[in-house]
């Protein structure tokens, strides 16, 4: 049996898909955006899905940029997203533990959890990535942290005039001499 993404194919279908060059995902290419079709063609290669490759050895890492404002929910089919990542050729996946908004995506006892976090989102991602045969990288935004600055203006990095510093009008910078660094 060959395995591509989370779809199990019979050996016969697997071989057929290889020899005809048709999509291994079973989708009708005509429904896809041309860029998606082109990208798909480049990733039609057999992989050993079980051989986890370390982040420092893989040539195919992926990050899901995920700076999620407090209004946003988490209605995401992580299992399907993991399968899509794997199907695209990923061997190591970077997952967010804390983003630029400063929210933790796991059930932290020291960090400020995202206000709509229902469960251990980061932990689930790590587990699913491993199940798909991918290594996991923990992303951590160190010096963009909006919620910390909003809640503790005295932790902000300020200029000579006392003005809080931020980047591209979006991201506030905490000062590492503040209690932020010690986790107090």
């Amino acid at each position: 049996m060959g395995q591509l993404g989370n779809r199990r194919l019979s050996r016969r279908n697997f071989l057929l898909s290889k020899t005809t060059g048709s999509s291994a995902t079973g989708r009708d290419d005509a429904t896809l955006h041309p860029a998606a079709v082109a990208g798909q063609a480049q990733t039609r290669m057999p992989r050993n899905a079980r051989a986890i490759v370390a982040p420092n050895k893989t040539y195919s890492s992926m990050e899901w940029e995920f700076h999620t404002p407090p209004e946003e929910g988490f209605n995401i089919n992580l299992k399907a997203a993991m399968a899509a990542a794997h199907d695209s050729g990923v061997q190591a996946l970077m997952l967010y533990s804390q983003d630029h908004w400063g929210y933790a995506f796991y059930t932290s006892d020291v960090g400020v959890r995202h206000p709509r976090l229902a469960d251990d989102f980061f932990g689930t991602e790590v587990r699913l990535a491993r199940e798909e045969g991918m290594s996991a990288i923990c992303y951590y935004s160190l010096q963009y942290n909006n919620q910390v600055v909003f809640n503790h203006p005295d932790w902000a990095w300020v200029d000579e005039q006392g003005v809080e510093q931020r980047r591209r009008m979006r991201w506030y910078l905490p000062c590492l001499d503040s209690p932020l660094a010690s986790g107090r």
């Binding site: 005509a30 429904t31 896809l32 955006h33 041309p34 860029a35 998606a36 940029e65 995920f66 700076h67 999620t68 404002p69 209004e71 946003e72 909006n146 909003f150 591209r168 009008m169 979006r170």
Partner: protein, 778 residues
């Protein structure tokens, strides 16, 4: 030898039907003999059909080359030597050698400077200020040399950049409200035409045209207040004492300086300025020039996009500086052709030869892009003539580049005279919409819409025309298969009725955004003028997601504020995988008879940076709410309409991939059997082509160009195949033959009612004929 006096020459050259004349009797007989002697009576290409059954390019070329001096109106090879020469410079230039180099590169018509941006005269003027180092009559010498070499001559005159006059007479300057002298690009000072400079100009006109045998006057820097300043949001008004006195004399009850606060006062002054500084001065210049040379041609630097129609009616032919696209399509030439005049010319700009910035193959591609659209080419030389340069006072490298630029043009231009476009898709060019957006200080938006439409429609491979709105008649529209209204906000009731009747009779209409929400008086309508044709009603303009560049002006439009997704229609199949997005507001619609093709997917949030509402690094992504119909398809009578509630063509300025891919696909789905189509395989936006009937109507001239070299800065990439297909019912093709760059019969195939020619490994530029069993006469 025929002897032609200067007056006689002008008369002949002014007569459009006799634009070329033979150089001598011997050459004439030789050419006539080689072309079966019928050339003067029959259409050119048909007359020169050889035993191959196709026009013989070599014979056409020989006849062209031996035809004598060619009018600036009719040549495809004009050259300008840009020469804005500072007072420090001298004129140690071998003009004879330079003129010969121009001739050798292929020039048939030369533009020489009589007065440049510095404001110096290049001839021995008695009324104007001569260049301080003018050691001889440079302009007069150039004119004589060009004539001796068989080239026609154009007089360049810089009207409203004139440094020396402003520096010598600051009271002649165009000044702003604070009294500051106005200048362009920190270089060129602008005199006011209400000052004594006006008489200075007219004096030069009398001198130049009484002294020199020139065929055309080219006025540069004409209407700079309106074209250059107003369209970029700057004040078009002069506040010098001359202007103020002139206004106050005409309007004793309305002091000049006090009337700018109201829109009416502003508009009144604008029209007054426009009349004096464009229409009146042009009339005066033409009168002065033609009092000396009655048939001299007149042209301006700027076409219909720059000047109102009354100005365009005064010029002998349309010239516009090129509108280029990254894919090399000569959009400006398509726009000019839309004015329905036989002659239109566009420039190919070059860089200084002494800098050696690029290979000649790049301007060659640009020139080819012009002739593909049948525009006459004009090489604008960036300072090729400089005292002492390269030993003879001109850039040897520049002339070599010029020669390469015309490598294809000089071989095929004999094919182009008298050709007529094969018609398939028209884009309405609405000058009324442009004027309405001008009034809203959004002049560039309309250009984005028209350029975006012409470019994406060209990708579809069908013949594309711009149709100026004054040509929107039932007869004209009836010649097209499809009509596109790219964000055409102003539609008169009469225009709407012409379009409605045409669709009902079987036409295919594509329209977008606020189409027809303004009438001809710019009064708002409560619904689209063509709502019944679209199958949707207008409800509102949703602007709350639009961000007007608060963070970074460059992002203003690139900011995605509207998302669309497929509603399951086959027309949206290409986009069915996910949402697509674009900038700008969108219109909320109520469907009546139309079928939903796409619907809005609303952004996750309204971004509000001040209150810390934003998403990630970019625009808010699509959220969970939908916003109703975004694109509707409607059958209307025997025809059909596709309406889009978004400014899809305007958004092409950021070149979203989905728009580039989807618009041509839509056209292919809506008009499945176009009269003609050209498709590269695999598809590339860089290969484009055109279809024109030859003068006899017995052949279709197909030109194609792979312009990738211009985008790749000199690196050429060939493509495997070009498929050319025509509708066998309307064009009964009996054969095909490549004529440039090589002579070769081509196989034709029939497939499903269409006749096809497939070119394997096509050259960069090529021209071929399709032979018609039944001629298509005008």
């Amino acid at each position: 030898m025929l002897k032609i006096t200067s007056r006689g020459l002008s008369k002949i050259m002014s007569h459009e039907k006799i634009s070329i004349f033979m150089s001598d009797r011997r050459t004439f007989l030789k050419v006539a003999g080689s072309s079966a002697g019928a050339a003067v009576l029959l259409p050119r290409t048909a007359a020169l059909a050889s035993d191959t059954g196709y026009p013989n390019l070599a014979q056409l070329r020989a006849r062209h080359e031996s035809a004598g001096i060619r009018s600036p109106l009719k040549t495809y090879r004009m050259m300008e030597w840009e020469a804005h020469t500072p007072p420090e410079e001298h004129f140690n230039i071998n003009l004879e050698a330079a003129t010969r180099a121009a001739k050798d590169s292929g020039a048939e018509s030369m533009m020489f400077y009589s007065q440049d941006h510095w404001g110096y005269a290049y001839y021995l003027s008695d009324v104007a200020v001569r260049h301080p180092h003018l050691d001889r009559d440079i302009f007069g010498t150039e004119v004589s040399l060009a004539r001796k070499l068989g080239m026609s001559v154009v007089c360049y005159f810089s009207l409203q950049f004139n440094n020396q006059i402003v520096l010598s007479h600051p009271d002649y300057a165009w000044v702003n409200e604070q009294g500051e002298l106005q200048r362009w690009d920190a270089r060129w000072y602008i005199p006011c035409l209400d000052s004594p400079y006006r008489q200075y100009v007219l004096g030069m006109m009398n001198e130049i045209f009484s002294r020199y045998e020139v065929d055309e006057l080219f006025l540069d820097i004409f209407g700079i207040q309106f074209v250059g300043f107003n369209t970029s949001g700057r004040s078009p008004f002069c506040f010098c004492k001359h202007t103020e006195e002139a206004w106050n004399k005409d309007h004793p009850d309305d002091p000049y300086g006090e009337g700018f606060k109201t829109p009416e006062g502003w508009e009144r002054r604008y029209k007054w300025h426009q009349q004096r500084s464009m229409t009146d001065i042009l009339n005066e210049i033409i009168a002065a020039a033609r009092s000396q040379r009655p048939n001299v041609l007149i042209s301006l630097n700027g076409g219909p996009e720059s000047f109102p129609d009354d100005i365009m009616q005064k010029v002998s032919f349309i010239y516009a500086e090129p509108i280029t696209t990254t894919t090399g399509i000569s959009i400006g030439s398509i726009l000019m052709r839309g004015w329905g005049r036989p002659d239109y010319q566009a420039g190919v700009f070059s860089k200084q030869g002494y800098l050696d910035l690029y290979p000649g193959s790049i301007p060659r591609v640009k020139a080819d892009a012009l002739i593909v659209q049948n525009a006459r080419t004009f090489i604008v030389g960036n300072a090729p003539i400089i005292s002492d340069l390269d030993g003879q006072g001109f850039s040897k490298r520049w002339f070599a580049v010029a020669k390469e630029t015309w490598a294809d043009v000089r071989n095929v231009d004999s094919l182009l005279e008298g050709i007529r476009p094969v018609l398939s898709t028209a884009m309405l060019y609405s000058a009324s919409t442009r004027a309405a957006l001008d009034a809203q200080k959004r002049p560039v938006d309309f250009r984005h819409s028209t350029v975006g439409a012409l470019e994406t429609l060209t990708y579809a491979g069908r013949p594309v025309e711009s149709l100026a709105e004054f040509r929107l008649t039932p007869e004209e529209l009836g010649r097209f298969e499809a009509l596109v209204l790219p964000e055409v906000e102003v539609l008169s009731d009469a225009q709407a009725e012409v379009i409605r009747t045409w669709v009902k009779g079987g036409g295919t209409l594509v329209a977008s955004y606020k189409c027809g929400l303004l009438d001809e008086k710019r009064q708002a309508r409560s619904n689209f003028a063509l709502a019944d044709v679209f199958g949707v009603d207008y409800e509102s303009d949703e602007r709350k997601y639009v961000r007007e560049g608060r963070e970074n002006p460059a992002w203003a439009g690139a900011y995605t504020s509207t998302y669309l997704e497929s509603a399951g229609s086959p027309l949206a199949k290409m986009l069915a995988v996910s949402t697509v997005g674009l900038a700008g507001s969108f219109l909320r619609l109520k469907r009546t008879t139309g079928e939903e093709v796409m619907r809005y997917r609303l952004p996750f949030m309204v971004e509000d940076m001040e209150h810390n509402h934003w998403f990630n690094w970019g625009s808010p992504p699509p959220g969970t709410e939908t916003g109703g119909t975004a694109v509707a398809y409607n059958r209307f009578g025997k025809g059909q309409s596709l309406y889009l509630g978004v400014p899809i063509f305007w958004a092409m300025q950021w070149r979203p991939f989905w728009i580039r891919a989807w618009v041509p696909e839509l056209m292919r789905q809506l008009v499945k059997e176009p009269i003609a189509e050209l498709r590269p395989e695999p598809f590339t936006e860089y290969l484009h082509g055109t279809f024109f009937y030859d003068e006899s109507g017995e052949y279709v001239l197909v030109q194609f160009l792979n312009a990738v070299e211009a985008a790749m800065e000199g690196e050429y990439r060939g493509i495997p195949r070009v498929r050319i297909g025509v509708d066998g019912k309307r064009l009964k093709v009996t054969g095909a033959r490549m004529v440039w760059p090589k002579d070769e019969d081509l196989e034709i195939h029939s497939r499903g009612g269409r006749t096809e020619v497939v070119l394997q490994n096509p050259p960069r530029y090529g021209a071929l004929f399709l032979k018609l069993g039944e001629p298509v006469r005008p």
